[in-house]
Symmetry: D2
């Protein structure tokens, strides 16, 4: 499946989330059917069941780190495949119903992460502000639009404020400028995007044993082939404290010989390894490949060994 205008999508909703903004960056998605899902798990299940072709979900945030819900949901259950990634700058607005003045704001609804990221601005600009937890930034905005009187304002994305025609009391209120969230488009495992030369491969690797060298042995599979890791997250398996799996993004495509060789090495030491996809990098940055880890070097070594073994 190449995402196209005929595809149908789901995403972590409700409408107007940063996740929908990420989905709208996918060519053709603006004109396609887009169904919000209430949780990451529900979004991925809709892909598994065939209800939609692909799901956009957040995977990594430059401020908060890996998105645990996605990392965990994608690591178990029926296999899925990451088809592409999208980067979305995260900017927060303080939104209210039309007519609300900034100095009238007391209770502010938003998701806990957004609250944490706007805390400095709020402390400086809203006297005695009180936090009202919401399940998402978009949900906080919807509450305002629906007339929920529990709070006066919401911290949310510009997209949802615009959609709901809320009044934007302040823009760009996040403490970290340049905050960005990375989203992945997840489809079924019968697709492997073509190699572009600037790709990323995502893997789930159970830690085989709890000994001083187990993680090093895993990392060595990459390092020995000159494969850089752009993300590494440890996640508990949920079995017991200290039982981990690792979620990693490696530079390169499984179609690159050095990546394929690293994957085979990983499979030998951790056969429960899960391949989540090779796909184009959003930043189109190609890795530098040393001669001895190039496809040519792998090809020459294969040919050389073939010559030896062919003599039998």
């Amino acid at each position: 499946m190449t995402p196209s205008e005929t595809s149908s999508y789901t995403y972590l909703g409700p409408e107007g989330t940063f996740t929908e903004a990420a989905l709208l960056q996918v060519p053709g998605a603006g004109a396609a059917r887009r169904v919000p899902a209430s949780t990451v798990g529900a979004a991925l299940d809709a892909v598994r069941s065939g209800a939609v072709d692909a799901a956009m979900v957040p995977i990594e945030n430059s401020v908060e780190g890996g998105v645990s819900a996605t990392l965990d949901a994608i690591a178990v259950g029926e296999p899925l495949r990451i088809l592409r990634e999208e980067l979305v700058p995260i900017t927060f607005v303080l939104a209210a119903r039309q007519g609300t003045a900034l100095d009238a704001v007391r209770r502010i609804a938003t998701h806990g992460h957004a609250w944490a990221q706007c805390r400095n601005w709020v402390d400086a600009h809203v006297l005695a502000a009180e936090y009202f937890p919401a399940s998402s930034t978009a949900a906080a905005a919807y509450g305002l639009a629906d007339g929920d009187g529990s709070y006066d304002a919401a911290i949310c994305s510009p997209l949802v404020a615009e959609r709901l025609q809320l009044s934007v009391l302040a823009m760009d209120i996040g403490d970290v400028t340049d905050a960005v969230t990375r989203f992945v488009l997840v489809g079924r495992p019968d697709v492997l995007p073509p190699r572009t030369g600037a790709d990323k491969t995502t893997l789930v690797i159970p830690l085989p044993e709890d000994h001083p060298g187990a993680l090093m042995q895993i990392l060595d599979q990459f390092a020995a082939r000159g494969v850089n890791l752009s993300r590494i997250e440890s996640r508990p398996t949920g079995q017991f404290l200290g039982d981990y799996f690792f979620s990693v993004d490696a530079d390169g495509h499984v179609g690159d010989a050095r990546v394929a060789d690293a994957l085979k090495g990983l499979h030998r030491i951790s056969p429960g390894l899960r391949f989540l996809g090779s796909y184009a990098r959003a930043d189109r940055r190609s890795p530098e490949v040393e001669r001895h880890t190039s496809d040519d070097a792998f090809g020459a070594a294969d040919a050389w060994l073939g010559g030896i073994l062919g003599n039998r």
Copy 2:
């Protein structure tokens, strides 16, 4: 400071949280002054300012993984020191005001993590249950006690349900039995708990550079000295995607020669390294130490080299 009856403590509140339960496991804490804090950051700041002697905060959950708020708050700012760890089994109850029947429950308030961990039970036992987000499980329980009519029941700890004299409609409703959370008692950096032989050392290690071997080089400092890691968490620095620091727990005490040597090696490659403390393991399990990484081997090597250098 050895925690004693004369100490004063803060903890991630409100009263009745699992964190307070962890604090009550500290000898003498039951009789000491205990002040709840609204956030992990506030709790740690109260220690830094001298308002209290130590703070109990959650650091790792067998289901959810590392507690980001704690990992991040302890990694920056004025130095702090972990003095001990406590393990608390996590069991959830469904609590309501006296007189509420289970089949009358529709909206359930709790923290997002607790909601996620009780989802299976709720789906099976509460028809058409609706989630009402709260800033903590205890806050959800307090809302009930305070007469907040927005929801009918709360998922919370047994401790807070008992304190607030709520009616427990169901016990042990978590999907994962044996869930456990690890808490750390954090004090000022003028204390180093004595070596017990079954210790743990916590470190914050900035990743020096983004190249294939940077993380391996760090891990090798432990592996080369036979020091096992019981926890490794990557956390974004918040600067840009892919800029990480690592939070690790290593087996052993900085007073063990192999740990001290590993720390020196780490300091050389990542001088921004932060030592967060060496303290007794809650499970009292001693590591197996190979001959060549024993204190004796380190002592013999020092003596041998001293003999050579003494000749100058």
Copy 3:
């Protein structure tokens, strides 16, 4: 070519050397044509030119170490292939012409290595003995038989003393009991002996660069696949001080997946690598292979990766 009665052989002569003793251990060699060669290089050239089918040459001595002449001659020039190895216990006798008494011996001829290895016995048993250098132990014995009056006795192998009907004045005069020399039978590169499960693979590996990790990178190709090295020799290339190649024996056969994979890894980092053969170990000892380096683990990894790549 399987060595057979119809084969013709050369060996490092003259007749009666330990090398001929090694050749006589090869099934059928006793009845085959056996031509002594004056140097290792001449013996190998006779194989290259087709004058003989195979050459027996010494490669490693438990007392003296690697045999430089062989290591160097086999490392360059037209490719050759080691077909089998033979171990021969090294025992020296002091031989003289019939009628010579031990207390009449003054000048003793032998090869420098043999002289070094019998020095203690000579010092203890032959008053004021003088060393007379010979180009081989056998040459020293031949000199006696030919009536060369420059010396009175020779240190040589029991085989040559018997052949030449010399008088054996003392047996087993080597300082090291249990000394053993390893010989290899070298043929043309169109033969690959079958895998027996207890094999050895010999390689010549140029050191790619003079940096702290170059040799480690080479050794890691073996260690990462659980392949033990039973011999490692550094040899100068002769170009400049510090420019080396390595001659190694690895446990296993190129037909073992872990060995084949190590060879491919070596070829990538040192493409000038030379494969000198896989052949049965003289001691028939099989290596212990861990699950993750077994042929099964390699096969499973290949199949798994094939499943991923087949989807394109």
Copy 4:
């Protein structure tokens, strides 16, 4: 002891060897007492007994490799210390008694190594030349001077030909131009030459165990501290085939923190390690030291750890 005019020396004789040429490069040695020794072992024993202050012996040849006799003799017995190294270009001459013409030469005496290194020249210029083994190149020359009629010419050093007033029939007859031999001046272990910034450290390291990683573990002690090895030789212990020790030269002085730290690491895994000395490099080339392996980095790490441990 700093070698001075009042010192007495021995060297691998007889007079006129390349080894004496190396000794004459030592400041003051030309005027000092110089006693030739018949073997490397005898030369080193003269140092051990106090008969002389230091011995010059060959250790490494750019064509032949490590000098086994020296590597083995220095590795056992009473400890010794390398004080300096000298490089001597190796050039061979064909020398004969006055009046001998080149076309009259049939039998040529020399040491086996020299014969091997001049083979091409001899084959091209001396019709039907025959090899007559001698215990050293100098001994071959002395034979001529002494009137030994067994041979017509000697391959030897220019120094000895000049000393003995032999006729030089041809100069520079070695097959490898630029051949060089490295010699070391060996004294008693109560001396440690000062650090110059361009030093070398020589070690003897028994291989602790025969497993895939043992040698890597040793090499990692250097690589992990950025210490380059300029020479590595495996030598059999003489106990059984495959039982090795390693003789290595590492860049740097034991007074450099990174070298001292590597030595301590080596001592822990191979306590039988022998330190043979730190001394100025003959080529005066300083190594490049990365920041994290500099003395500053080691000092900063020590101070940092001291701060932590001082709090107890």
